[in-house]
C-alpha cells in the first residue's frame, strides 16, 4: 500500500522534504530496540508506503512537487539527492519560470486551471506506479498566496480524478501575527474549499510548533527548518508503519483508510489536531526515561485541557461528571475549558507497548454524547521505536482543538470583509463577494457543529 505525497508551494515542498528525511533516517537508524525480523518488516512496510525501488538502489520518494517558482523545488531536489539515502524522481515536479505573487485567487482561478493537465499527469504517473494506491497526502500552507489557492484547486482535481481514494490534507496554520495581510481571507477560502474535496484536514499551527522549539527543544534562533523538522517528526510518528488492533501480525497496509474510518466518517467534522510526546532536544534523549502510564496520563490531560505541549498543562480541567452540572454552567465550562472529543487515535511506538494501558482514553465522558468509545477510539502500536525515542506517543484528535483558532480566523476575516478591504485583489481574478460569503457560511456551519458537541 502506497501513499502519493503532493507537495504544494514553498511551504509544502520544504516540509515534504523534511518528512521524507525523517522517515528515511528513522528506518536506517540502529535504535529500533526490537528484533531483527521486526526491523525488517518495519523497513519493508515503510519502503512500500513511501518509496519506489530504483535501479540505482537509492529509493525514490513517491511524490509530486508543485510550485510556481523554480527555486524551492530545485533546492528540495538537490538536498534530497545529497543525502544519499533517498531522492525524488527527477521528472516528478512542476514549476513555472517565475513566481506569480501572493494571491489566492490567482492560484485558484488562473494557475490551477492553466496547469491542471500537466500536474494531474504527474500525479497519475505516480498513482500508476503503486500496486495499491492507499491515498493522497497533500502538504500546503493555508494562508500563503499561490500555494494555498493552487493547493485548493489541486485537491479538487484529485477528488475529481480519484473519486474513491482517500485524500488527507496536511495544512499549515499561519502565525497569528503573520506577514501576509490577507492571510485570513486566504485561510477562509482555503479551508472552505478543502472541506468539500478532502476527507480530512490535519492541522499544524506555526505558533504552537514555534513554542515547542523554544520551550521544549531549547532553541534560541528558531528557523523555518527547525519548525519543519518538528512537524516532520510529528507526522512521521503518525504515518510510519504500525499494527492496528484488528491485526497484530502484519503491519497495516491501509493507514490512511484506518485513520479516516476511526476519525472522520462524519462529513461535517474533518478538523484533526496532532500532539506528540515526548519532545526534547536530541542530546537529552540518552538521559531520559519515560513510563507508559506517565506518557499516557500527560497525553490524556493535553487532550482534555487543550494543551499544545507537555509543559504548562492545566491539570485542573476535568471532564464533566455525568448528570452533575447545571446545563448553562455545563456548557460554559465546556466552551472555555474542557475539550470535547468526537474521536481519537493514539499511536504508541517503542519498548513495552504491549503493556501500555489506554483505558483512560476510553472514558465516555471524554466524548460527545452521540458516540461511545468503542466507535470513537482507536489505537495503533508497534514495538519498533521511532526516531531515537525509546517511547513515543502520538494523538490524532478530532475534537474542539481547532475550534478557537478557526473562530479567530473567521472573525478577523469577517471584520476585514465588512469594510471590503483588499477584496478587489480577489474579484480581479474571478473570486466574487458571493464566493466569500459562501465560504463564510460553510465555516460558520463547521464552527457551530463543533461548538454544540
Amino acid at each position: 500500500m502506497s501513499i502519493v505525497t503532493v507537495q504544494l508551494g514553498q511551504c509544502g515542498n520544504q516540509i515534504g522534504r523534511e518528512v521524507f528525511n525523517a522517515i528515511c533516517s528513522d528506518v536506517h537508524g540502529t535504535h529500533g530496540l526490537c528484533s531483527k525480523k521486526e526491523n525488517e518488516s518495519y523497513h519493508d512496510a515503510c519502503k512500500e508506503r513511501f518509496f519506489i525501488e530504483a535501479e540505482s538502489g537509492v529509493p525514490v520518494a513517491r511524490a509530486v512537487l508543485v510550485d510556481m517558482e523554480p527555486k524551492v523545488i530545485s533546492q528540495t531536489l538537490s538536498i534530497a539527492a545529497k543525502s544519499g539515502y533517498w531522492k525524488y524522481d527527477d521528472h516528478s515536479h512542476f514549476c513555472q519560470k517565475q513566481g506569480s505573487g501572493n494571491n489566492w485567487a490567482n492560484g485558484y482561478t488562473v494557475h490551477g486551471p492553466r496547469h491542471k493537465e500537466v500536474i494531474m499527469n504527474l500525479v497519475q504517473k505516480e498513482a500508476e506506479k503503486c500496486d495499491r494506491l492507499g491515498g493522497f497526502f497533500t502538504i500546503m500552507s493555508m494562508a500563503g498566496g499561490t500555494g494555498s489557492g493552487l493547493g485548493a484547486f489541486v485537491t479538487q482535481c484529485l477528488r475529481d480524478a480519484f473519486p474513491s481514494s482517500f485524500i488527507l490534507n496536511h495544512v499549515i496554520w499561519p502565525y497569528g501575527t503573520g506577514e501576509v495581510i490577507v492571510q485570513n481571507y486566504n485561510s477562509v477560502l482555503t479551508l472552505s474549499h478543502l472541506y468539500q474535496s478532502s476527507d480530512a484536514l490535519l492541522v499544524h499551527e506555526n505558533d504552537v510548533i514555534h513554542k515547542i522549539c523554544a520551550q521544549l527543544m531549547h532553541m534560541k534562533q528558531i528557523s523555518f527548518k527547525d519548525v519543519n523538522q518538528v512537524i516532520a517528526h510529528q507526522l512521521g510518528s503518525v504515518f510510519q508503519p504500525t499494527y492496528t488492533a484488528e491485526d497484530g501480525l502484519h503491519y497495516s497496509r491501509n493507514p490512511l483508510g484506518d485513520l479516516m474510518e476511526t476519525l472522520v466518517p462524519h462529513p461535517e467534522f474533518k478538523m484533526l489536531g496532532l500532539r506528540n510526546i515526548p519532545q526534547m532536544p536530541e542530546n537529552s534523549l540518552a538521559y531520559s526515561t519515560f513510563s507508559w502510564p506517565g506518557l499516557i496520563k500527560h497525553l490524556r490531560q493535553m487532550l482534555i485541557a487543550n494543551a499544545k505541549m507537555e509543559e504548562g498543562i492545566d491539570w485542573q480541567v476535568q471532564p464533566p461528571r455525568p448528570g452533575s452540572s447545571i446545563p448553562s454552567s455545563h456548557s460554559t465550562n465546556k466552551l472555555l475549558h474542557f475539550n470535547t472529543s468526537i474521536a481519537n487515535l493514539v499511536i504508541l511506538r517503542g519498548k513495552d507497548t504491549h503493556s501500555a494501558d489506554l483505558g483512560s482514553f476510553r472514558d465516555p465522558s471524554l466524548y460527545t454524547s452521540w458516540l461511545n468509545p468503542q466507535d470513537a477510539f482507536g489505537a495503533w502500536k508497534t514495538p519498533r521505536a521511532f526516531n531515537k525515542y525509546e517511547k513515543s506517543a502520538s494523538l490524532v484528535s478530532n475534537s474542539q482543538f481547532l475550534l478557537k483558532p478557526l473562530d479567530n480566523v473567521v472573525r478577523k476575516a469577517w471584520n476585514m470583509f465588512a469594510s471590503k478591504a483588499y477584496v478587489h485583489q480577489y474579484t480581479k481574478y474571478g473570486i466574487e463577494e458571493e464566493d466569500f460569503l459562501d465560504s463564510f457560511t460553510a465555516l460558520e456551519q463547521v464552527i457551530s457543529s463543533y461548538t454544540i458537541l
Binding site: M1, E40, S41, D131, L133, S164, F166, H266, P267, W370
Partner: protein, 383 residues
C-alpha cells in the same frame, strides 16, 4: 465446511500477496451475507441437547436475525426472540427449514466452497427481475419492539464508516487485479492448455512451492467428502420434511404458508422447488444427473428471457456465476464471454442504477420539503 487460509509469507513479495488474495473469498457474496456463520450457528443451536444451557453472544443472534430479514423471512415470532439465545429453538428450527428450502442453502454453500484452481471472478449478465438472488429479498421491516431514539449524527457516522470501508475494499480489489494481470502476463505461453495459455495464481504457486500440492489434495478430498455428505442428505431429505410436518403441524397460525408465493399442497410445509426433482434411489444419485437438472433450469430461464422484449435488442451471452479469468489475445471463440462485453453490461447497469438513485433522491427531497412545510419556523435546505 471450512476453507484453509494458506500462510502469508512475511516478505511483501507480490507473489505471496497475489496468492493471499486468491485464497480468500474476495468478491462480494451473491447473497449479500456470508452463509457459513449462519449454518454454523444453526447447527450449534440445533445440536445442543435439550436441558443444556446455551449462551450465545448477542451479536451472533443479531446477525442471524438480519440475515433472515434480508432473505425475506416474515415470521415475527423469530425477531422477538431474546438476544442471548436462551429461548426459541422451535422458531430457529422453522427458520432453518425455511432457509433450506427458500435459498437452497446447502447447494449455495457447496458452490461457494468449491476448490478453485483458476483465478475467478463473478459475472452476472442476467436481467434484473430474473436474478435468483434478488427474488428473496424484501422491503418489509420486521416487527421489532420500539427502539431507542438514535442521534442522526451517529447514523451519519456509521454511514461514513461504511463508505470508507467500501473504498478500502475497492483499493484492495484494484491491487488484486494488478497482481493478477502481472502473473498472467509473465506466464503467457507456459500452460499446457493452449486455450488458457497462462497460469493462474494457484498454479503459479504450485510451480514455485510444489510441496503445497498436499494442501490442494487435502482440499479436494474435503470437497469430495462434502459432496458425499450432501448426496446422503438428499437421500434422507424427504424424511426430514415429513418429520417437520408431523411435529410442527400443531403450530397454529403459521404465517409462512401464506407468505410463500407458490401454490403449495397442504400436506407439506415447503415442497422442494418444482424444477429440481431429485431421485431418491441411490443408484441414480450421480453428479451428471444434477448437472442435467441445472441445465434444464438454465434453458427454462433462457426461454423466459426470449419472451421478454428488452431495451437492448442484440442477443447477448447470458452468463451468471463464477468464471475463470483468462488473459487472451486470440480471436478464437471459446465458451467464454469477453471482458469488453462484461464491462459494457456493467456500465449499462451502472447507468440504470444512477437513474434510479437520482429518482429516489428527488422523491426524498420532495418528502422532506412536505415535512418541512408542516413545521413552524423550519426551513429545509437540501444538499
Amino acid at each position: 465446511t471450512t476453507h484453509v487460509l494458506l500462510p502469508l509469507q512475511n516478505s511483501s513479495s507480490f507473489f505471496s500477496r497475489a496468492y493471499f488474495y486468491s485464497s480468500c473469498w474476495f468478491f462480494p457474496s451473491i447473497c449479500g451475507l456470508s452463509l457459513c456463520p449462519l449454518v454454523v450457528f444453526f447447527i450449534t443451536v440445533l445440536t445442543t441437547l435439550p436441558g443444556t444451557e446455551l449462551r450465545l453472544p448477542d451479536t451472533q443472534i443479531r446477525f442471524v436475525k438480519s440475515a433472515l430479514w434480508y432473505h425475506g423471512y416474515g415470521r415475527p415470532e423469530l425477531y422477538r426472540l431474546p438476544s442471548d439465545g436462551s429461548a426459541g429453538s422451535r422458531e430457529l428450527l422453522l427458520a432453518f427449514s425455511w432457509l433450506l428450502h427458500r435459498i437452497s442453502l446447502l447447494e449455495q454453500l457447496l458452490a461457494r466452497n468449491r476448490v478453485r484452481t483458476g483465478d475467478e471472478t463473478s459475472v452476472c449478465m442476467c436481467e434484473d427481475d430474473l436474478s435468483q438472488s434478488e427474488k428473496g429479498t424484501t422491503e418489509i421491516a420486521p416487527e421489532y419492539g420500539p427502539e431507542d431514539r438514535v442521534d442522526v449524527r451517529y447514523l451519519q457516522w456509521l454511514s461514513g464508516r461504511l463508505r470508507f470501508q467500501w473504498r478500502s475494499l475497492h483499493a484492495q480489489h484494484q491491487e488484486q487485479c494488478k497482481l493478477l494481470h502481472k502473473i498472467h502476463l509473465l506466464t503467457t505461453g507456459c500452460h499446457v492448455d493452449q486455450i488458457l495459455g497462462h497460469f493462474s495464481v494457484t498454479e503459479m504457486d504450485l510451480i514455485r512451492q510444489p510441496e503445497n500440492y498436499k494442501q490442494l489434495v487435502q482440499l479436494l478430498e474435503l470437497e469430495t467428502m462434502q459432496l458425499e455428505a450432501f448426496l446422503e442428505w438428499k437421500q434422507r431429505e424427504p424424511v426430514y420434511w415429513q418429520w417437520m410436518v408431523m411435529t410442527q403441524m400443531n403450530f397454529k397460525g403459521c404465517s409462512l404458508l401464506k407468505s410463500n408465493k407458490e401454490n403449495l399442497p397442504c400436506s407439506l410445509f415447503f415442497p422442494p422447488p418444482p424444477s429440481i426433482q431429485v431421485k431418491t434411489r441411490a443408484e441414480d444419485l450421480q453428479k451428471e444427473d444434477f448437472a442435467a437438472t441445472v441445465r434444464k433450469i438454465q434453458e427454462a430461464v433462457e426461454l423466459k428471457l426470449l419472451d421478454l422484449s428488452n431495451l437492448c435488442a442484440p442477443k447477448k451471452n447470458k452468463m451468471h456465476g463464477l468464471c475463470r479469468l483468462v488473459r487472451s489475445v486470440s480471436k478464437e471463440p471459446a465458451p467464454a464471454v469477453s471482458a469488453t462485453e462484461v464491462i459494457r453490461e456493467l456500465q449499462m447497469r451502472e447507468a440504470s442504477l444512477q437513474r434510479e438513485l437520482k429518482q429516489l433522491r428527488e422523491e426524498c427531497r420532495q418528502r422532506l420539503d412536505e415535512i418541512a412545510e408542516g413545521l413552524d419556523g423550519v426551513i429545509c435546505i437540501s444538499p
